[in-house]
């Protein structure tokens, strides 16, 4: 609790004590001889609890603001005093203050748990100049400077490792708990924690351009992009107070004139004034969105605004890019089909043959083999573009390439059924086997698609620039509803526009891409998800929601968080409005009393805030 909150608490306790004593005296009939002078006794706790409300109301009047909760609360309680409801007047103020205090503590607590999520800002950087190492503000480090990051320290700026190896904890940025290994030459991103060894790093980006600053900027401005629900509440709040005040005025005047019982109707009007603050809504709705965005960012998903969270809750169609989004975007050896059953020799010979080539196919075979053949092991090496390579190695004349190459060498390899690329290997004119290279589907992609369907996404579509066969294979493996292949980037936009035209007015179409070459499509879709690849600027700029660690399984998570957030927000709106309207109605009919009005005001507010705080903890 802050100092201000503690003072309020002390005032509440003293007032409550005094008030309780007075109530006991009143109920036991000891105050009766005082008659109307009782008011003076009740004024004591009233003044103690209400003086700040009084000052605040006075300030409002000077500013010409009439529709203010403080002022209206004051009018209500003074009116209660005038008609002899002393205890009610004090109670309304007392509970109002208790509610306000509770609200302020609850909001403070959510603020803190949100700022804990943002605890990624480094406090200092160790600048290396010659032999000297000095601690400086990360802002003062220039691009090209060398910094030292000790074990356990937070990486202050984006850079490239010069010396040292270590394990980086990226959990604060990506939600990913498996540390990532870095060694000289690797790029590292600010905000991570250096786990094990000291690193010297050459800075590649100034602090204001670093990943940490970008992310922080994003999350902090996220709440300025308000969801439609939030905008509605802001507009609603503006008319709510004048409306309720007007009702109170009407109730105080018209029936009093008609019936002559002004005392009764004044009392009923007071009930309206006590419920005149839209506090429950104006605090709990933004808090709900804020909590939802916080919960997503704790899982490595950056949502750029409440409006996007709202949209994510309504996603019914998801369109995926293939390469780099559903697949890993790099070619890998997925099958070895040796003619004689010896996989290892097949791979080793192929690697020997390919060792001189820089073709992606050659690189993936070399990567699969693991060892790089020694220089000089290969001679008479030739590469024929569009066919393959030939070389003399290990005493054999090797040929590795596609069907065309085999045909030229008059070798008839068996058919291999695959959507990927096939590399045939021949040695001394003999067919030795085939190697299948594919762009492998990402881990968890199938799981992600299944979970998305469970979360309510009706249609999953894939767009790809790749060959029909390769695209269809991926689509079939993941169980997608439709696959459109061999598309140029501009045609992808066209496809998305067609899908946009087909969908219903309330359906939301999301596009998931890697954000670099997909920017136009990301912009065109209702909601753009980018696979963020830690700190890639293009992705962060173009998309509305950024998946920091490229894991497709974050998609169902964020849809679920969005849905739950919207549910909590709606619960609060209906609950708060429902109780307020009900109490007003009962108040007008003379059934509700002041106590119920206080509950409809601060009680509802506190409950709605507690409910909204649940968004912070959505799993």
């Amino acid at each position: 609790m802050t100092k201000r909150q503690k003072q309020t608490l002390a005032r509440i306790l003293v007032t409550a004590g005094l008030f309780a004593a007075l109530l006991i005296l009143e109920k036991t009939g000891r105050l009766e001889p005082l008659g109307r002078r009782q008011a003076l006794l009740f004024l004591l706790p009233y003044g103690l609890i209400a003086y700040d409300v009084l000052f605040a109301a006075a300030r409002r009047i000077r500013q010409g603001i009439v529709f203010d909760e403080n002022l209206l609360m004051l009018i209500a309680t003074i009116a209660a005093f005038c008609i002899g409801e002393y205890a009610e007047a004090v109670a309304v103020m007392l509970f109002y203050q208790i509610g306000e205090l509770f609200q302020s503590v609850a909001v403070g607590r959510s603020r803190r748990s949100i700022s804990d999520l943002m605890e990624i800002v480094p406090a200092y950087a160790n600048l290396v100049q010659g032999d000297a190492v000095t601690q400086v503000d990360p802002d003062d480090v220039a691009v090209g400077d060398v910094i030292l990051i000790k074990a356990g320290e937070r990486v202050p700026l984006d850079g490239e490792v010069l010396t040292g190896t270590s394990l980086l904890d990226t959990a604060a940025l990506t939600g990913e708990s498996v540390p990532r290994r870095v060694s000289p030459g690797d790029a590292i991103v600010s905000g991570c924690i250096n786990g094990s060894g000291a690193l010297t790093v050459r800075v590649t980006r100034a602090f204001e351009d670093s990943a940490v600053s970008k992310i922080l900027e994003l999350v902090e401005t996220a709440s300025s992009k308000k969801a439609k629900t939030e905008q509605f509440i802001t507009r609603f709040a503006k008319i709510y107070t004048p409306f309720v005040t007007a009702c109170a005025l009407l109730i105080a005047v018209i029936p009093s004139i008609v019936t002559g019982d002004w005392r009764e109707w004044l009392q009923r009007a007071c009930i309206f004034l006590v419920i005149s603050c839209p506090c429950a809504l104006v605090i709990s709705v933004p808090l709900g969105f804020f909590g939802g965005i916080g919960a997503a960012s704790r899982r490595g998903v950056l949502v750029k605004g409440g409006n996007f969270l709202e949209a994510a809750a309504g996603v019914t169609t998801l369109v995926f890019d293939k390469t780099g989004t559903l697949t890993q975007g790099e070619f890998r050896v997925t099958r070895l089909l040796p003619a004689d059953g010896d996989e290892e020799t097949l791979l080793r010979l192929a690697a020997l043959a390919e060792s001189g080539s820089d073709h992606p196919v050659a690189r993936s075979i070399l990567a699969a083999c693991g060892e790089t053949p020694q220089a000089g092991a290969v001679s008479e090496w030739t590469e024929t573009p569009g066919e393959g390579v030939e070389a003399l190695a290990a005493g054999q004349r090797l040929a590795a390439g596609n069907a065309k190459l085999m045909a030229r060498l008059v070798i008839a390899p068996p058919q291999v059924e695959t959507a990927g690329t096939v590399v045939y290997l021949a040695a001394d004119g003999q067919y030795r086997g085939a190697i299948v290279i594919e762009d492998a589907i990402k881990d968890g992609a199938a799981q992600a698609i299944a979970d998305l369907r469970a979360a309510g996404v009706r249609q999953c579509v894939m767009l790809s620039g790749d060959r029909q066969a390769a695209a269809q294979a991926v689509g079939a493996q993941l169980g997608l509803d439709a696959v459109h292949a061999e598309l140029l980037p501009a045609e992808k936009v066209g496809r998305v526009e067609m899908l946009l035209a087909e969908k219903g007015p309330k359906d939301i179409l999301g596009y998931v891409g890697d954000g670099i070459n997909d920017a136009p499509v990301l912009m065109r879709a209702d909601l753009g998800f980018a696979m963020g690849s830690l700190g890639s600027d293009a992705a962060i700029e173009a998309a509305d929601i950024v998946i920091m660690d490229d894991d497709l399984r974050r998609l169902p998570t964020v849809v679920r968080i969005a849905r739950k957030t919207m549910r909590i927000v709606r619960e609060n709106i209906w609950f708060a409005l429902g109780v307020k309207l009900l109490v007003m109605l009962l108040g007008a009919l003379g059934i509700a009393n002041m106590w119920m009005a206080v509950f409809a005001d601060v009680g509802v507010s506190v409950l709605a805030i507690l409910n909204a705080m649940r968004t912070l903890r959505i799993k």
């Binding site: 201000r4 000052f55 605040a56 300030r59 500013q63 603001i65 909760e69 302020s104 909001v107 959510s110 603020r111 949100i114 902090e220 401005t221 709440s223 300025s224 802001t234 709040a237 603050c277 839209p278 506090c279 104006v282 605090i283 933004p286 808090l287 804020f290």
Partner: protein, 72 residues
């Protein structure tokens, strides 16, 4: 120019909206918003008049809530 300032003591959401409204009315201010939850003022204003704007904004904030201020 767009700049962010930390605030303290912004204790009610309705007041935050009122503060933003008052600051938006100041000369040289293009846009302003006060975020009640993050306690931040986001100000879009003429760089040259920044000092005067901030002084006036500080006063406006204090008028609406005595305990609130912009941290400069």
């Amino acid at each position: 120019m767009k700049k962010k300032f930390a605030m303290e003591g912004v204790d009610c959401a309705v007041c935050a909206e009122r503060m933003a409204e008052q600051i938006r009315k100041l000369p040289g201010v293009q846009n302003a918003s006060v975020n009640f939850l993050t306690q931040k003022l986001i100000l879009e204003a003429e760089e040259a008049q920044l000092e005067a704007i901030l002084a006036a904004a500080q006063k406006a904030v204090g008028r609406i809530d005595k305990g609130a201020r912009i941290l400069l």
